[in-house]
Symmetry: C2
């Protein structure tokens, strides 16, 4: 075993250079987690290649040794997709961090995967272009990780998720071969859609090394409304009513009472004052190039929400006010995380079913004795359910809570939804997959995995149930 | 052989009833073609099932007999995807023609595959909803065929193609098993994206029997501009300039001189007067809910196109004028088809590369002695190239023209484009696939096909090169 490891180490050092191969405990621990619960799964080696060719050589090596290879991005994942659960080689993508070409003529950007999503958004915005996908972690997550998990975010309701912007990918296959999956075109009916098969595959089918994304012209204006509801379920009902009124907001976020309380309590500098009698808030943004139209749309939205029991609506029209509201929204997960062990479920249903989902979750929580904090991208029907450990016993946490989660997912699927909207299945949800998929469908997934990775070396133990 | 056929016939009759199994020459010929050139490939039997279960039984039978099974939709395809090139069972989908549920609460529609695209568009429009995908054949093509080929259309430039609206599919697999590919949600990060793998797979991986589509609120207004250019390449250049000015039109179509001439000459009732000195026209539509904004956008577009050599712009603001212009645009293919044998190539490039593509196509045509009529969805970089047989000898048509097509595709790929934007690869383009894909990529496609259809019974001889 020592011999094999020594040989492997030497080979890795030969490929990327001594200074980019690590096996000290600190480094391995540092790369052994993401943002999923409190898991720690350090790899046996951590390598930091710089090029596609180096990655291809590492993949070949892993194949030869039949050793797990786990791509690691910004470590912000919420489904444990980047955890080296079977050890092996951790493949940090961090040095592939260049934006290669902002193509203003074609409204496209070609980038390496380890560019931070916010950095990419800013770089294209400087040229008047817009990359709309904005996961809450966009200040630290990598665009490559967004592709692995098919990340969404607040603007998905109008602009779609990561998959809707990916035109073409350079991918190192588990054999070490390098392919491009598509073409740099807006339309493509040329063979099976390998690009979309790769998006959301969580690094189990290949390693994405270059990315071509579609961009839009940057909208000049937006307006943000914060609407306090006396009843949480009515807030959910209003979501669907807004669309039925013919409005497509650029964001439509739901936060229940507890979510805001946690954010206000634990995140510094939140200046929004929330009244105790408000059970939930909707955060509604409209965007476009004409301020007078945004005002008209805001008025239409007001007409819709006024049909429900609401308190006074806050119109945020300064950058400062907008930032304060977004800070509160983005701070919820962080606040919960900082203050209790928790499990985050990423339920998604057709948006009209949200009130039923919310009600069901609370009922299931009561049955199994857990508290949950719910918030998320209501416009997409995507509700994040943070289940709080709080004062629950370890036994209840380990035995009762998973039963409750199973029931939540069963409810989600019964409402024609599914068990992950934007976080992926990864490690923590894989054994719930049979709730969302028939055995035959899982068989197809397994067989597709085998087409790409017959030796199961690439990020093993993810997506597919044990 | 007669015994096998007799047995097969009896089995088919048992599944769908005697009245829905056909083997008379007329019926077989009638179902033996689509709109691709002048091909005729009648199946040996033609069946018209009504239900998913009947289709599952037919698929099982085909598997047992190892006989080809070819799904047939509206027969409007342009790549020969529905041709029974190896005979076998033709599976007409025509009786699965019900719109099952227009879900106004969730802005979704669930439909069977044989609903005509225009019928579906009209049905949802009645409820204030919008299904944007509008292939030129929308008056007769089936929504299921649109999914098979990932069809686009004039509005794709703003609203995307078929794949962007498909949320979930019921599919009969080649084993006869029935699965749903996803969930009825706007977001989904639950396992590999089987929905997108199915879209554009041209009936080679499974038979789509139910479809859930995303809808949008219907826009109330649009405005149409017809811009005559003195130089065709400048028209192509203007396309990219419009986007760079921050405008996303709802249609941006290119027609070169010859395309309009053919349409005006052969399609009745086209009242547009075209001047001989105009080399090309752009047809530009903007849409939205506020007429005053459309006027502003139209003015911005005018500012952009006036930087090129153009003649007077026609603003169509009555329904009559708009219909006349669209009739002309949609009539091009029909006009060409009615008057010469032709081959239609479906080239697509990043939109800024259009002028280079157009120039290259003309040069290649001159080299190999063929005339081409070019038009298409310029906003997407999608140029349809109709190669006219006209007075070419059969020898030149069979030997020289394919060399020219190969060069056109090589040019397309060199410009970072690909060989089909919205028509699919089907039968006629399959042997050009290696121009667009590396051998390893084609291997992956072949292996995916095997995962679904190990006996290669489902629409054999399509997409993958011989």
């Amino acid at each position: 075993m020592i011999n094999t490891n020594t040989l492997l180490l030497q080979n890795l050092q030969q490929i990327v250079g001594h200074e980019f191969v690590f096996y000290d405990t600190d480094t391995l621990l540092q790369y052994g987690h993401d943002e999923t619960e409190d898991y720690s799964f350090p790899p046996n080696f951590l390598v930091k290649p710089r090029t596609t060719q180096e990655i291809a050589a590492i993949v070949k090596l892993a194949n030869e040794y039949a050793i797990p290879l786990v791509p690691i991005g910004g470590q912000t994942g919420l489904s444990g997709g980047a955890l080296a659960i079977h050890g092996g080689i951790g493949l940090s993508m961090e040095r592939l961090n260049k934006i290669l070409h902002v193509d203003e003529n074609n409204l496209q950007v070609t980038t390496e995967p380890a560019v931070i999503t916010q950095v990419l958004r800013d770089a294209v915005a400087e040229k008047g272009l817009f990359y709309p996908v904005d996961p809450s972690s966009m200040g630290s997550c990598f665009i490559g990780g967004n592709i692995a998990e098919n990340s969404g975010g607040a603007r998905a309701v109008k602009y779609g998720v990561t998959k809707d912007y990916v035109l073409n990918l350079e991918v190192v296959l588990p054999t070490g071969e390098i392919i491009w999956t598509g073409a740099n075109t807006l339309k493509n009916s040329t063979g099976y859609n390998l690009t979309q098969l790769m998006v959301g595959s969580e690094g189990t089918l290949g390693i994405v090394t270059k990315i071509v994304l579609k961009l839009l012209p940057l909208n000049k204006y937006n307006m943000l409304l914060l609407v306090p509801f006396y009843k949480a379920e009515e807030a959910c009902e209003a979501v669907s009513a807004i669309f039925r009124a013919g409005i497509v907001p650029s964001a439509l976020e739901f936060m229940e009472r507890d979510a805001i309380d946690w954010a206000v309590k634990y995140i510094e500098g939140i200046s929004i004052v929330i009244q105790p009698e408000h059970q939930a808030h909707l955060l509604i943004e409209v965007d476009g190039n004409y301020p007078e139209i945004l005002m008209l749309e805001a008025e239409k939205i007001l007409e819709v929400v006024e049909q429900f029991s609401i308190d006074e609506v806050l119109f945020a029209d300064t950058e400062e006010q907008k930032n304060a509201i977004w800070k509160m929204r983005r701070g919820v997960a962080e606040a919960v995380k900082a203050n209790s062990i928790y499990k985050e479920e990423d339920t998604v249903v057709p948006r009209y079913e949200l009130p039923k989902l919310l009600k069901g979750i609370k009922k299931i929580g009561a049955k199994y004795g857990f508290q949950s904090v719910c918030y998320g991208h209501a416009g997409d029907g995507n509700l994040h359910v943070n289940i709080i450990k709080g004062t629950l016993s370890d036994t209840a946490w380990q035995n009762e809570v998973p039963k409750g989660i199973k029931e939540i997912f069963e409810l989600t699927v019964a409402l024609k939804g599914t068990i992950s909207g934007e976080h992926g299945i990864g490690y923590v949800q894989k054994n719930y997959l049979p709730i969302a998929m028939q055995p035959k469908q899982i068989d197809v997934l397994r067989n597709i995995k085998k087409v790409f990775d017959p030796k199961n070396i690439l990020n093993p133990g993810k997506i597919l149930p044990d």
